[in-house]
């Protein structure tokens, strides 16, 4: 664990892997809930967790390094299931990368259990880990990816909450509403949420 200061009120904590970052995030949330930690923002990412809005970051940094971080516990709530039509325009490209038939992509994807590692890019956009294979981004990003597109890039799966430009490989579509600010909570996916994709309809 490496603790890097980010200005006068924040610490960026760097760990060795995505799993460690998820475990650290869970532990920091637990400590904030118990009152041991006061932070305005706890922002997990690929290999880091950012603590922002700290009163005494230097003192916290000294304490942090001695904290035991148990593996991320499974969250109590149910798994979020998202119904997916595996009809994306990049199915064939992904299948070619993996050396499998296009309908195998759907089978592999729907068989995995995912976990939201972190959010970013857009409100409600989660970076989901759990896919046993990786795939590169598209060489040329699309100027508009439709809302509800189920997409892959690197080790991550994501679902576009709204239409936006994007360079991920599109493998399917879901009607799930990823973000609705009139709903409580607004985001369907938050860091730590477990997710499964359920195939629907004919290919």
């Amino acid at each position: 664990m490496r603790v890097l200061p980010a200005g006068d009120r924040a610490l960026l904590i760097e760990v060795a892997s995505g799993e460690e970052a998820q475990a650290l995030h869970a532990e920091l949330l637990r400590r904030r809930a118990s009152g041991e930690l006061t932070a305005a923002e706890i922002v997990p990412a690929a290999r880091t967790v950012l603590l922002d809005g700290l009163d005494a970051p230097a003192r916290l940094a000294e304490r942090l390094v001695s904290w035991e971080v148990p593996p991320a516990p499974p969250r109590a709530e149910d798994v979020v299931e998202m119904r997916v039509r595996y009809d994306g325009p990049d199915l064939a490209d992904v299948a070619a990368h993996w050396g499998v038939a296009p309908d195998e992509v759907a089978r592999i994807h729907a068989a995995a259990e995912f976990r939201v590692a972190f959010c970013g890019f857009a409100p409600g956009f989660g970076y989901l880990t759990g896919l046993p294979r990786e795939v590169p981004r598209r060489a040329t990003p699309r100027t508009a990816v439709p809302a509800g597109s189920v997409a892959l890039a690197g080790p991550y799966t994501g679902v576009y909450p709204r239409s936006s430009p994007g360079g991920w490989q599109l493998i399917g579509t879901t009607d799930a509403v990823l973000w609705d600010h009139t709903r409580e909570p607004a985001a369907l996916l938050t860091p730590g949420t477990r997710v499964r994709f359920v195939p629907v309809g004919a290919p």
């Binding site: 980010a6 200005g7 006068d8 230097a58 970013g120």
Partner: protein
């Protein structure tokens, strides 16, 4: 019942609604947003007797014009600009009594970039995650204003104004940003770190509410790999592949994949919000507090 509404007659280049933003949702990918020159927004709210979290109009360079449907108190602050009420000169930086149907016009900024217009009662559009701020990065909150937009106003708060007039800010001839190094200063060469705090930069015209972009010497990286996405703070000085530092402002993305060489003191960001393109910028290394 009086019609408490404000008609936008001329929206200007970019006029948005801003309050104190929606911090606390960065883990969901939601930017903090809020008025870029927060002290200026707070002052105009005080002048009209609003609570500090009331939504105000934030203009960009060329002002805007509005017509209230019923009598209201207004105040203009931030970037100094000519103000007229039905074509007659009116005061900047103090309370203005504006009758229903009258036209209040904020002209182009004489110096600075962003003027603020507060209306008694505040603009009362729907809140999104607790805030009425327009977020230009992710599209949360009300869209930027257009000619003809009708904005509902809240009931006057009756908070007694504790100020009658605000001090006129001196036009910033140079933007000085105090920075502390890191978290990714070790991704840059020693020469780049020296250049960063010794060579002058200028504000780029590509600056916006997301970031203050700069022009000047490119900062060379010592580590050339890709940085996995990591959380970003307000004031982070990110260095994209072109090597020119970008200072993150209120609508900044919550995570990013370019290394942050240093973090600017948030207290200096209201000056950054008023630094017009071409303004010289100096990054001055200071000791970390806390």
């Amino acid at each position: 019942m009086t019609d408490r509404a404000l008609v936008v007659v001329r929206a200007g280049a970019l006029t948005t609604l801003q309050d104190r933003g929606r911090p606390g949702h960065a883990h969901l990918g939601v930017p903090r947003s809020g008025a870029l020159d927060a002290p200026a927004a707070a002052l105009v709210n005080r002048l009209v007797g609003n609570h500090a979290d009331a939504a105000v109009l934030e203009t960009t360079l060329d002002g805007c014009a509005v017509r209230p449907r019923s009598a209201v108190t207004m105040a203009v602050g931030g970037a100094p600009c000519p103000v007229t009420l039905d074509g007659r000169p009116a005061a900047w930086g103090t309370q203005l009594w504006v009758p229903g149907g009258a036209l209040l016009d904020l002209g182009p900024a004489r110096s600075g970039v962003r003027s603020y217009l507060a209306v008694s009662g505040g603009v009362a559009v729907e809140r999104v995650l607790g805030s009425r701020s327009t977020d230009l990065l992710s599209g949360l909150g009300p869209a930027p204003l257009t000619d003809g937009t009708v904005l509902p106003l809240g009931p006057p708060a009756m908070v007694h104004a504790r100020v009658d007039v605000v001090p006129h800010p001196a036009p910033p001839t140079e933007l000085v940003l105090r920075v502390t190094p890191g978290p990714r200063d070790d991704w840059f060469t020693a020469a780049a770190l020296r250049t960063f705090t010794t060579h002058p930069y200028t504000v780029s015209s590509a600056s916006n509410r997301i970031g203050l972009r700069t022009e000047g010497p490119a900062l060379e990286r010592a580590v050339t790999g890709e940085l996995p996405s990591e959380g970003m703070v307000l004031g982070a000085v990110q260095v994209p592949p072109d090597g020119r530092p970008v200072v993150f402002l209120a609508d900044h993305p919550t995570t990013g994949g370019y290394p942050v060489i240093a973090v600017a003191d948030p207290a200096d960001l209201s000056a950054a919000a008023q630094a017009a393109p071409g303004t010289p910028v100096r990054f001055v290394a200071v000791r970390r507090r806390g």
